[in-house]
């Protein structure tokens, strides 16, 4: 028979079909992620509606400037990922490596800033069940705000860590030329990374900008 692109799975008839299947598969997975974070958004909805002033007061203790900078960092990383995917489709290996590396740097920057915020919150006695202290009434309600803050941002950070780890592995493979034949993994990864960015785009105003 005639030569077939080695990236083609034996059960697919052509690359276009495989590409579309991969994209849909990734979106199906992202739908699960929407609902995964969604459970926490539900808890947030209930408790913020119940304790609006306390949540606003809690939100004021968050470092909005750092949160805003982090949002900018993530949005920039989405740009670099999009450019990386584009480079992969062009089979431009060096550009691909560059933008993947930039994305890693930005991702680590995000985590660094987040970690710094956590450290500051620890210093200010705002960590639930560890050293949480609250002036005034409604201490437990305020703690609920911080529970949601830490839980949601930690879960997000975990997704970032997973993304960065995968990306590091992919940088190695890209350097070995694995994506010359088949750029689909880069595209798939891009979808995941953009999604994690979108989650943060919602977390930022909901956590940092309550009733200011």
């Amino acid at each position: 028979m005639t030569e077939v692109n080695s990236a083609l799975g034996h059960h697919f008839t052509d690359l276009a079909q495989q590409r579309e299947a991969n994209t849909l598969g990734m979106w199906a997975f992202l739908a699960t992620e929407v609902l995964f974070f969604g459970g926490l958004f539900a808890a947030y909805l209930v408790y913020r509606s119940a304790y609006p002033e306390v949540f606003a007061a809690g939100s004021e203790h968050l470092k909005m400037a750092l949160g805003a900078i982090n949002t900018g960092v993530l949005l920039t990383s989405s740009l670099t990922v999009a450019l990386a995917v584009h480079a992969a489709t062009q089979r431009a290996r060096n550009r691909l490596l560059l933008f993947m590396a930039l994305t890693v740097v930005l991702g680590l920057l995000f985590l660094g800033i987040k970690g710094f915020e956590y450290y500051q919150e620890y210093q200010e006695n705002l960590v639930p069940t560890i050293n949480f202290t609250w002036e005034g009434n409604n201490a437990s309600q305020a703690m609920l705000f911080f529970v949601l803050y830490f839980f949601m941002t930690l879960l997000h950070a975990l997704h970032m860590i997973i993304g960065i780890s995968v990306l590091l592995v992919m940088i190695f493979w890209a350097w070995r030329g694995w994506y010359e034949e088949d750029d689909m993994p880069v595209e798939r990864f891009g979808l995941y990374w953009h999604f994690v960015d979108i989650v943060w785009v919602f977390l930022f105003p909901l956590l940092y900008l309550i009733g200011r």
Binding site: T32, G38, G39, A50, P128, V147
Partner: protein, 571 residues
């Protein structure tokens, strides 16, 4: 029609090409993965069954003489968690689904074969935590993990169990993603959506539910674990939280989960009824769309588990109304199956017995669901054996029977052998009788006020409990039979032809068992499904090869040309 002695093409089939452990444990062949799952969930079924056996033994007498209360609590938790998450949820999708979906679609494999294998390993890994938690001491919260008991007061291994279930959820999700994408993208040429077998429609709907509901369970269990270890207060009223939030989040998954469990069974029944009545399904599109309707509506009714929990009356009203509505698509299926039987040419093989049993028992279960969806009635029967009987009629009388029916129906395709029909019928009848003796008394018990999840009870309930336990022993015998005769048949069963039932469907257009790549040539579909008017009567012992069928019933058989593959894939 030529009648030749069938030869078992075992060596060239997916079963025979390799025998090493590695070829099984590292397979990406969807058929082998289906068998891996089959063995696994059979094991879980019997573990859950052992728990049920001990529970029914305890309930023979009013006194709590076999077990302590705590022990009994651990048993019903074990029974529930194992049966729900490690048997029912995976059952048909991972066994029959994995095996049949690519075959029915005319594809060579699932869209993501390695993800498929990963899903099995994830199930195994998750089960280590959950079964492990049972081994080291058990969990006593019930499979529903209600707060604040699970988060604050229980002294059992809640977190280990929760982690296990959470991990297993990912296994579900991987399987579901595979089924969805394969159905969208890997259909054979000419196989449009409305030519799909109804089994595919139901699995597709099931997979939609899995993808959208399971993650909420995962994050909820995570919150339970966090609350339990750290006391974060998210479900604790003393800290400003609401225990009911747990129930909302839990049931947002767990109600659709019951549709995850039953929809595949309904898909099997559609296949069995049409084949054994030799008729196309009445109202194909209605049955197909009803699967989607159940999937969607099933997400809108979860509050009917919370009528007496403290949820607002208005929310209760909304959920009650929606629960009535979700019964409609299920009823449509029952009407349509019945109409399919009407004036059909009925055969009484084992799979048909299971299918007919399903229809009757599912109807009873479903009707009693309307009872409990009715607010004032539920106030009386909530947390009684009435509810227990209701869901066992659906899950056991419905789903398990559909599962067994499907296993028997496709057994020749999977193994290349026929099971012994006499034993098959005997087991089916035994199961039907045993089931009704076990669970019908429970309707009466519950209506008369016997609460569920108790190990001792007032003496006036004893007679019906004895009935129920006696029935359970018959049921158990019925379940053990297939274990033996199916295993026996893999070695000594009569060799099956490619299509012993004369069924339509692409899976029957390849050899039994199929070759690894499923089809020698990719089929091309020209006809609507279920063209039973073109097939003859059923004779599983007559050997009909694919060539014979092609000669005698040309319109029904896909011609094997690997032509343009663009058609049939439009979504």
């Amino acid at each position: 029609m030529a009648v030749t002695t069938p030869t078992l093409h075992l060596r060239e089939s997916y079963l025979g090409i390799s025998h090493t452990a590695k070829s099984w444990l590292l397979t990406t062949d969807h058929k082998r993965i289906g068998l891996l799952y089959f063995v696994t969930i059979t094991l879980f079924f019997f573990i859950g069954g052992v728990a049920a056996t001990m529970m029914r033994l305890e309930l023979l007498t009013p006194a709590g003489d076999l077990l302590l209360a705590e022990g009994y609590n651990k048993l019903f938790t074990m029974h529930g968690t194992i049966m729900v998450w490690f048997f029912l949820v995976p059952s048909i999708p991972t066994t029959l689904g994995n095996f049949l979906v690519p075959l029915m679609l005319g594809a060579r494999d699932m869209a993501f074969p390695r993800l498929n294998l990963a899903s099995w390993y994830v199930l195994i890994f998750g089960s280590l935590f959950s079964v492990g938690s049972l081994v080291v001491g058990g969990v006593d919260t019930g499979w529903t993990f209600y707060t604040p008991y699970s988060t604050t007061y229980s002294n059992s291994y809640v977190i280990a169990m929760a982690v296990g279930i959470m991990i297993t959820g990912f296994s579900s999700i991987f399987t579901a993603i595979n089924i969805i994408i394969t159905t969208h993208k890997l259909r054979a040429p000419g196989l449009t959506w409305f030519r799909l077998p109804l089994f595919i429609w139901s699995l597709y709907a099931t997979s939609l539910i899995i993808v959208l509901a399971t993650p909420v369970l995962a994050v909820t269990l995570l919150l339970v674990a966090a609350e339990r270890t750290l006391g974060i207060g998210i479900f604790d009223p003393a800290l400003g939280g609401d225990p009911l939030l747990f129930q909302h989040l839990f049931w947002f998954y767990s109600h659709p989960a019951v549709y995850i469990m039953i929809l595949p069974g309904m898909g099997v029944v559609s296949e069995l009824i049409t084949c054994f009545a030799r008729k196309p399904p009445f109202g194909y599109k209605f049955i197909a769309f009803s699967s989607l309707a159940i999937a969607i509506f099933g997400f809108l009714v979860w509050g009917h588990h919370m009528f007496v929990s403290g949820q607002s009356v208005y929310a209760g009203l909304v959920f009650s109304l929606l629960s009535f509505m979700v019964a409609i698509p299920s009823a449509i299926k029952v009407f349509n199956w019945t109409a399919t039987l009407h004036k059909g040419s009925i055969s009484w093989q084992t799979p048909m017995l299971y299918a007919l049993g399903f229809i009757g028992l599912f109807t009873i279960g479903g009707l009693t669901g309307l009872f409990v969806a009715t607010l004032p009635i539920d106030v009386q029967v909530h947390d009684t054996y009435f509810v227990v009987a209701h869901f066992h009629y659906i899950m056991v009388g419905g789903m398990v029977m559909a599962y067994l029916g499907g296993i028997h129906f496709w057994w020749p395709k999977i193994t290349g052998r026929l099971y012994p029909e006499g034993w098959g019928k005997a087991a089916a009848i035994l199961i039907f009788i045993g089931f009704n003796f076990t669970f019908f008394p429970q309707f009466l018990l519950g209506y008369n006020g016997m609460p569920r999840r108790i190990h001792e009870y007032p003496p006036e309930y004893q007679v019906l409990n004895v009935f129920s336990t006696a029935g359970a022993s018959i049921l158990a015998a019925g379940y053990l039979l297939p274990l033996f005769y199916l295993a026996w048949s893999t070695r000594y069963g009569e060799i099956a032809g490619d299509n012993p039932w004369g069924a339509t469907g692409l899976e029957w257009q390849t050899s039994s068992p199929p070759p690894k790549e499923n089809f020698v040539e990719v089929p091309v579909v020209h006809n609507d499904p279920y063209r039973y008017e073109l097939t003859g009567e059923i004779d599983p012992h007559a050997t009909v090869t694919v060539d014979d069928l092609r000669k005698s019933h040309p319109p029904n058989i896909p011609t094997h040309h690997a032509t343009a593959h663009k058609e049939g894939r439009d979504d």
